[in-house]
């Protein structure tokens, strides 16, 4: 684990008097797919948002390729400037629960925007790259559609294309199927499976246990802002050690039946 791409150490985050993350340690190796599960309020979404500094963390450290994300150095207490953060975020893709597509841009322009502005790619090249990724997620015939003209599953696939077109080192996926109708979940997860097969490093929050089992390399169970259990998917999901995890898994199963 010494060559972890993402290294999270003693990460702590408070919102007022509430401690949302309470000393989290987590490594993600290159090419690894780590699935984070846990009840709502367990801190899993906040963990993801700390990794690309969408929320500032109070103490501890988050490093990608050895570079501290939120602060100028581990423990320096000096937040990075917006410009420095932007440069770091360019290498960290994120897919959101509510898609967050840009409603005024077509599918193609949603994907091309970061390529053109952040990566400084010429317009034609960005367009080709955007079309490549949209085709890859099965939307070759939807390039000129606005988000409002797409189904939820299609919108989320654009969201994935927008993130991976930047060729990030790490992809964060925050409950990306939670807002979808059940029959649309499969098409989105298939895209994620394909990315995993290609070796994309992913940190993913999800309630899709069957996906965690067959696509995840490691499962992390969070409870009250801490990592309560972690290990290979079959171990964690098949032989839960704590009552809390057993109860959580039972609730999830009841819901998905």
């Amino acid at each position: 684990m010494s060559h972890a791409l993402l290294a999270i150490r003693d990460l702590t985050k408070r919102f007022g008097a509430t401690t949302v993350l309470d000393g989290v340690d987590l490594d993600v190796a290159r090419g690894e797919v780590v699935v984070v599960i846990g009840a709502s309020g367990s801190g899993k979404t906040t963990l993801l948002r700390c990794v690309n500094a969408l929320v500032p963390y109070d103490s501890g450290s988050v490093t990608l390729d050895g570079v501290e994300i939120g602060y100028t150095a581990p423990g320096s207490g000096v937040r990075r400037s917006d410009r420095a953060l932007a440069a770091l975020r360019a290498d960290i893709g994120m897919v959101f629960q509510m898609f967050n597509l840009f409603p005024h841009l077509t599918a193609r322009d949603n994907v091309a925007l970061g390529l053109r502005v952040t990566r400084g790619m010429p317009k034609a090249e960005a367009r080709v790259r955007a079309e490549h990724w949209l085709a890859r997620v099965g939307l070759a015939d939807r390039m000129d559609h606005l988000p409002s003209q797409l189904s939820g599953g299609q919108q989320q696939r654009v969201g994935i294309a927008r993130a991976v077109a930047m060729e990030p080192k790490l992809l964060l996926l925050d409950e990306i199927t939670s807002a979808l109708d059940p029959e649309l979940v499969g098409e989105v997860l298939d895209v994620v499976r394909g990315l995993a097969a290609d070796g994309m490093t992913m940190l993913m929050v999800t309630h899709e246990m069957s996906f965690a089992r067959d696509a995840g390399h490691r499962v992390v169970f969070m409870d009250k802002g801490r990592i309560a259990e972690e290990g290979r998917p079959n171990e964690v999901l098949g032989r839960p050690q704590s009552d809390r995890l057993r109860r959580f898994l039972r609730r999830i199963e009841l819901r998905t039946e």
Binding site: L54, A87, D91, M98, H104, L113, V117, A163
Partner: protein, 213 residues
């Protein structure tokens, strides 16, 4: 009355100049301050809020006289034209700050986050993601405030700037024919603002098509 038309024309140009300067100045200042109010830190937001509330709470005519008589006391001796433009701009900026804050504030926070996630800097996030969506909400109240500026510019006549309003009054002073001249003045103001209204409806329709959300 015909011989007075060139004189009235000059006044009309002054009215257009005052309105144009006030609209441009308040738009620039209001965009920066309104955006800072919406996205900036608290220490920056509090004075901006205080300024916007104060500027809007003072009757325009009080503001004009305060700037006109107050600036010389502070050692800044502005000609009446510029003192009046400054006062109107302060007043209008208060409104534009509110309009900008409301418009960008109506954009879902997820838009800013998604823009951050693809590595856009703050200015790029505004330019490519926030403003293009906010402009639809911004235009209707802003055009209203532009027509307000044109009407409000008539108050500069009170500090001796010969705009359309004062030109009309001076002509009346010589001809003793108030009604035809005031009607002519009203017609000119209506023509300007009606043109603005039509242009704004075209603009709104265009943006509504672009952002078919």
């Amino acid at each position: 009355m015909i011989y007075a038309l060139p004189f009235l024309g000059e006044g009309f140009l002054v009215t257009l100049a005052v309105s144009g300067l006030v609209v441009a100045g308040s738009l620039g200042l209001g965009l920066v301050l309104g955006t800072a109010l919406a996205f900036g830190p608290r220490w920056l937001g509090l004075p901006i809020r205080a300024f916007a509330d104060t500027a809007r709470a003072i009757p325009l005519i009080v503001l004009i006289f305060t700037v006109y008589y107050g600036l010389p006391a502070l050692g800044a001796n502005l000609p009446p034209f510029w003192a009046a433009v400054a006062a109107l701009t302060l007043f209008k900026t208060g409104h534009v700050i509110e309009i900008v804050r409301g418009a960008v504030g109506s954009i879902a926070p997820g838009q800013m986050e998604a823009a951050k996630a693809i590595g856009l800097t703050f200015v790029a996030r505004l330019r490519y993601v926030i403003f293009p969506q906010a402009v639809r909400r911004f235009l209707p109240p802003w055009i209203n405030s532009v027509t307000d500026s044109v009407k409000g510019s008539a108050l500069v006549s009170l500090v001796g700037v010969v705009d359309l309003m004062l030109a009309i009054q001076q002509v009346i002073g010589r001809t003793y024919q108030p009604m035809p001249l005031y009607l002519l003045g009203a017609a000119i103001y209506i023509a300007v603002n009606a043109t603005l209204s039509v242009a704004s409806r075209r603009l709104e329709a265009r943006f509504a098509r672009v952002v078919a959300a």
